[in-house]
């Protein structure tokens, strides 16, 4: 029985690992191929099956004038928009969440939970519902096709995540902790940033991780709200596809696109395995 269990366990782990890793290996190998190696016959092993080339990677940084696709600028645009929006969302979201967790709000029939739900409801709606209002809003204030406009929209999308995670987190930080800090001589602001916030770092990391992931992978709004001036990475990568699919540069750009998320995942994983995040995730 236990042998069967062990066998099944390892079988599924192996199966899942192959399932997850295989596309990456495929992308890595494809990114070093040229037109011939991709289209003529099935090839797997570099130097034996095909002659590796860096062309797929080179076009990514070459300017379009020289026949490249230049994803460097969209890359930094994406980094800027994601990081700025995540940072602002985390700061505002954390403050909002602290207030929602510690104070009782009452306005007509509206209570704390309703306000929290209002935040989350922004994420429940299909994005397409928001696209037209956002479009009109940004064009009215003249921020269509600009980095700042995207940052504003992304804050709207990311802040609910931060609020949601942090409300739940603060609710589990006993209010006696704040009270003790007050008794020990902090004013309410000091109590928040000297005592409550350091205790909430695991929650902040998780909230930050989700903000970065959701900000980084968004294609829909980046596609609808930008045209020529500003381009974000997901839009640029999709735009690589033309009448002849450039599998090699597409693979290379896919790899550089997921690289930041892999780094984030590794950092968060370290925290997770240290047990510092226990309880920060549901």
């Amino acid at each position: 029985m236990s042998k069967l269990y062990t066998f099944l366990k390892y079988f599924f782990i192996t199966f899942w690992t192959v399932f997850v890793v295989a596309p990456f290996l495929w992308a890595v190998s494809t990114s070093f191929k040229d037109f011939q190696s991709v289209n003529s016959k099935v090839t797997y092993i570099p130097w034996l099956d095909f002659e590796p080339t860096l062309e797929g990677w080179r076009v990514l940084i070459k300017s379009p004038a020289k026949g490249g696709v230049d994803i460097v600028e969209p890359y930094f645009n994406s980094i800027f928009v994601t990081c700025t929006a995540s940072l602002i969302s985390i700061v505002l979201g954390t403050l909002a969440a602290y207030a929602l967790s510690r104070f009782t709000f009452k306005a007509g029939f509206v209570r704390n939970n309703d306000i929290t739900f209002f935040f989350i409801s922004q994420r429940i709606m299909p994005p397409i519902v928001l696209s037209i209002p956002f479009f009109i809003f940004l064009s009215t204030i003249g921020l269509l096709d600009s980095l700042l406009g995207l940052v504003v929209v992304y804050i709207v999308l990311l802040m609910p995540i931060a609020v949601w995670i942090m409300v739940d987190f603060f609710n589990r930080v006993p209010k006696e902790l704040d009270e003790t800090a007050l008794i020990d001589g902090c004013n309410p602001y000091q109590a928040f940033y000297k005592v409550v916030l350091p205790n909430s770092i695991p929650g902040l990391i998780v909230a930050g991780m989700f903000c970065i992931i959701f900000g980084w992978i968004d294609f829909f709004f980046a596609f609808i709200l930008t045209f020529t001036e500003v381009q974000l990475l997901p839009v640029k990568v999709v735009a690589l596809n033309s009448s002849i699919t450039p599998w090699w540069s597409l693979s290379a750009s896919a790899l550089v696109s997921v690289a930041p998320l892999i780094i984030v995942a590794f950092i968060v994983e370290r925290y997770l395995s240290k047990g510092n995040l226990s309880g920060a995730l549901k």
Binding site: P174, E179, I183, D184, G185, N187, N199, I201
Partner: protein, 361 residues
């Protein structure tokens, strides 16, 4: 530093948590009380009787709906918690997880901008008292629950200038051995530094052994304030009689038959209370099981009971007997021979308390 400690006056304080309700329910009914500087007080009462509310009002975490708080005659009702100079220890350990033990203990002093040398000196003194010296550099979150509670306690004691240290059942999570030692430590600290200590508990033994003055509360009311001895011998209400002492006070329905006598099921019991105004009224007679004596034969002030149970508690025996429907408990010395079947119990008149409308006559 000692002159900063204060006499604390609670003047006509009352509190409700739903003040906007047309019929608010009061967590604390109006009361006035004075906590003298340097004394040890215990607030005793069942859960939900308003003990914690009272502490929170003093520390400023809760603003009373009515009334005023004065520290040394200075009103502090509108002063914020951080400006009040009160230390409070909660029932469950509250520690700053991200700091070391040393930083935890130093935190209240750092917030008040003490010098580095002073902080070091105080932290050392307190950690010595609480046996925390060897953990000073460990992260506070790695300690056990009772060590964590010691840190909370230490943060309260580290400040010499506090008006009072308020403790809300602080020893609940601490094991009995250490509990005993800590209570003694707290007493020593109180005697040495003359810090006013207020100790909330629902454990009467803890209250009795710790405090000079005990405040008994029930349902938002202060029922009795007094020395442990008074609470034990002369409970002001039947509630105090039930609540203090183990077993609870024997309380019997009875009728006043003369100026000093009551009747329980036709047996007349003489008391030292003056019952002139209560003739023929229904009252209650209370007597501690410790004060009931075994009598060799029937005489005045004895009650004949049928013995139903004898429990041996090691240092004493607890007799349970019945007279009709009445159940009577009596504590007797372990060595005393207990006759089988029926026996006579003597009620010393000076130990009998008579209650009319649940209040001591």
């Amino acid at each position: 530093m000692e002159e900063q400690m204060a006499k604390i006056d609670l003047s006509n304080i009352s509190h409700t948590y739903n003040p906007l309700d047309p019929k608010p329910t009061y967590a604390l009914n109006p009361f006035s009380m004075t906590w003298e500087n340097g004394k040890r007080y215990a607030i005793l009462g069942p859960s939900g009787c308003g003990k914690t509310t009272m502490l929170n009002i003093v520390s400023g975490l809760v603003r009373p709906s009515k009334g005023e708080i004065l520290f040394d005659e200075t009103p502090v009702t509108d002063l914020k918690t951080e400006d009040r100079n009160i230390a409070q220890v909660f029932q469950f350990p509250v520690i700053y997880n991200t700091m070391t033990v040393y930083d935890n203990l130093a935190f209240p002093l750092r917030c008040r901008e003490f010098t580095k040398e002073k902080i070091e000196e105080r932290v050392k003194a307190v950690s010595d008292t609480l046996n925390l010296s060897s953990f000073l550099n460990s992260p506070a979150r790695k300690l056990t629950a009772d060590q964590k509670q010691l840190i909370s306690l230490g943060r309260g004691l580290v400040r010499e200038d506090v008006a009072a240290v308020l403790m809300d059942e602080p020893l609940t999570v601490i094991d009995p051995d250490l509990k005993f030692r800590l209570r003694r430590n707290l007493k020593e600290i109180n005697e040495q530094y003359k810090t006013t200590l207020v100790y909330v508990t629902h454990d009467q033994n803890e209250a009795m052994t710790f405090a000079e003055n005990i405040i008994v509360m029930d349902q938002g009311e202060i029922v009795q304030v007094g020395l442990p001895k008074d609470l034990f011998e002369k409970p002001k209400t039947t509630f105090v009689g039930y609540f203090i002492g183990s077993p609870a006070m024997n309380i019997f329905h009875s009728t006043v038959s003369s100026d000093h006598e009551v009747k329980i099921n036709d047996t007349t019991i003489k008391t030292n209370s003056n019952l002139g105004n209560l003739k023929d009224k229904n009252v209650k007679l209370g007597i501690r099981s410790e004060f009931i004596e075994l009598a060799e034969k029937e005489k005045s002030n004895t009650i004949k009971i049928k013995l139903t149970r004898v429990e041996d508690f090691g240092n004493f025996k607890l007799l349970t007997g019945k007279m009709g429907d009445l159940v009577i408990k009596s504590k007797v010395e372990r060595e005393k021979p207990i006759p089988d079947g029926e026996l006579n119990l003597y009620f010393p008149p000076e130990k009998c308390c008579v209650y009319s409308d649940e209040k001591l006559v």
